[in-house]
Assembly symmetry: C2
């Protein structure tokens, strides 16, 4: 008799974004004539760039001809894309990453969820808190986290690394030993950044304790401050302790195309085994490569025109972020992030918790954001606003928020 993976039962019943969707839907059913302004989920709104679309058309045409048709892609990605990434994302910043250390995938969400498979079942997990839910949920399904306290909104077997305004959203090193550390900078959901010196401390800690850092750099393209690190490999010694995740989703509007990559340096050895080799084996056995046409589109992002267009889109979203932040400042609402990342992390108005803020903004201003508590215990007290909206939506939302405070 077959049985289910009982670890799934440990997942909290309500998923953050489902609960938001449920409340918004209920509100809209009651108020069908009201326009709801969505600054919730972090999906892009600008269409694909001209360069990407042109390359997609070209690649599609190649697939129509027997001479240029491509079937199965290499499971680890095409060399043309890996080489361009090695040159443009790393070499240009003075970091040497070999193309073979870059594994292309269908996006950072899959990589962030699957990477835990390389580690032992008893690995102690630490996450920056608040946190992107995928790191946690994938470890719950794998059985590493079993004891959720619904009242506290905490996993007893997870090491939370609190991030809040008093540590400018860069956590202190953990007090007890941890094995696997998820860090994300520029941060989702807080929009915060980490300095090279701060990140170096984490690298030193990981090397000293033989922990592994999963560094999620999905929002790297949003960095404007030239002093900030774009890659964890800018830190000395990171190649022996860190895996880096990158995404084309927010960087180039690929949320609907699906492309990302994972860097595992050859020097990252655990129990005498190369994690790169393990990951290649994992991907080769369980995944069949990102589509050729989409890898071509990804490569086009790095062309001169592609980079210019990408930058324009990033700047547009960062302008949105500035508008939101300025709007909140004008009514004396404290807010963080938004300078080098697409998220504004607003402090809840006096006397409201995160879900109360959600309900208040939905009801009074018709603005949808994301309650900070949905991202973890340290998210309570905050509220996330996404800068990915269209300009008109952003302006209306700011206006509406101003009127209700």
């Amino acid at each position: 008799m077959a049985h289910i993976n009982a670890n799934f039962k440990n997942l909290p019943a309500s998923y953050l974004f489902s609960e938001i969707a449920r409340r918004v839907k209920a509100y809209q059913n009651q108020h069908p004539s009201i326009e709801v302004l969505r600054l919730g989920i972090g999906d892009v709104t600008l269409p694909l760039s001209k360069t990407v679309v042109t390359r997609l058309h070209e690649a599609v045409d190649q697939q129509r001809l027997i001479e240029s048709f491509r079937g199965y892609a290499p499971e680890v990605g095409y060399d043309f894309l890996k080489q361009t990434i090695a040159d443009q994302d790393f070499k240009k910043r003075g970091v040497v990453i070999e193309p073979e250390e870059i594994i292309i995938s269908d996006g950072a969400k899959s990589d962030a969820a699957n990477i835990q498979e390389l580690f032992s079942a008893d690995a102690v997990i630490a996450v920056g808190d608040p946190v992107y839910p995928v790191y946690i949920d994938s470890n719950v399904m794998a059985g590493r986290l079993k004891n959720y306290d619904a009242a506290l909104g905490r996993w007893h077997d997870l090491v939370y690394l609190p991030m809040n305004s008093s540590n400018h959203f860069v956590p202190a090193l953990p007090a007890a030993q941890v094995d696997l550390i998820y860090l994300c900078y520029p941060n989702n959901p807080t929009g915060a950044t980490i300095t090279k010196a701060e990140l170096q401390e984490w690298v030193n800690y990981a090397n000293a304790t033989k922990a592994v850092i999963i560094f999620d750099a999905a929002y790297e393209r949003f960095i404007k401050d030239p002093s900030l690190p774009h890659s964890i490999y800018e830190c000395e010694g990171a190649k022996t302790c860190a895996i880096e995740l990158r995404s084309f989703s927010k960087a180039a509007g690929f949320t609907g195309l699906r492309l990302g990559y994972c860097v595992i340096p050859r020097a990252l050895i655990l129990d005498g085994t190369s994690l790169l080799d393990l990951w290649i084996r994992r991907q080769g056995s369980k995944y069949n490569g990102a589509p050729y046409i989409i890898q071509q589109a990804g490569e086009a992002v790095y062309s001169e025109q592609g980079q210019r267009e990408t930058q324009e889109a990033i700047d547009f979203y960062l302008d949105n972020a500035r508008l939101i932040k300025d709007g909140l400042a004008s009514i004396h609402l404290e807010a963080y992030g938004g300078d080098n990342g697409p998220y504004i992390w607003m402090k809840n108005p006096e006397g409201m918790n995160s879900w109360e803020t959600f309900d208040y903004l939905l009801d009074k201003a018709h603005v949808v954001g994301t309650p900070g508590s949905g991202f973890g215990p340290s998210g309570e007290g905050y509220f996330r606003l996404s800068a990915f909206g269209q300009r008109e939506t952003i302006l209306k939302a700011i206006q509406a928020i101003k009127q209700v405070f």
Copy 2:
């Protein structure tokens, strides 16, 4: 201190297709002027059809405009594709499958590898033998299979269901209790089929013992015999015991586009839990949906012209299969499959095992196939030839094989 997932260590060092690639490369280095004829890996060789390419271009253009741009897809797939599949793949054959029971993915390989996550760690696994390696490798990585006997080429903790010419490649029901049963028809690697009555026996067995069947129907489009079942849901009671995997790869040449789907009926309940709900949760947490443009391309396959073009490609490959089979028959080599599937399962020449046959054909005829033993213990004694090649390659290969026997 972090440790690796030690289950990876249990995987045999050499992956079948890597070993083949290694031997072919070594041969080519020694004989650079010889043309090697590849009938090994089952990748398609015909380009994408006109209808699919036209739809891809249209969908790409939609992604260029702000009004029609699509970002994140629903993790379970777009309704337009799910509805078409429900109508065309099931309703047309008298099977009622609701769109919500169809979960779109980036291909049957991912689904075949990931589906085991829904089941308990101690599930007893059974596979038709010979077998597509993904079913086994994914269970090894998950720790369900730990004891490999390299000398015998067998997993001690796996229940093999032997398939050979004496049972026309349809296995007998297992003697002892099993929990999860992987069956694939039309079969990879043998090219064999299963009758509805035979499949009904498996469904009855699974329902009686509360086992779950993972039915891999990736090659369903190759069925020519109108009496054969295309879906396991043509059998009575299958909705309470079976998951079905489908693929656009071989059916419509999507090996490089990546699209597939998984059917989990609402009625499939284990331990009081809907497996459909578990899978939706799994996909929602660890996957971000197949690209919009590729789901559009998949939908185009079902248009009238799309179906005609798909059928032409299938017929082309089946003609290849017939040419191979007739060629082998003319020199009195016994062979199976090829009538309702793209693979020919040749009996090794007298006195040769599968790898000896491989080396002999590579050396003498310059033909690359796949040693049957690579697919499992019951594969020994056989050799797989793929019908996916271009016509010229197939004809040359048959000629060459004829000359060396």
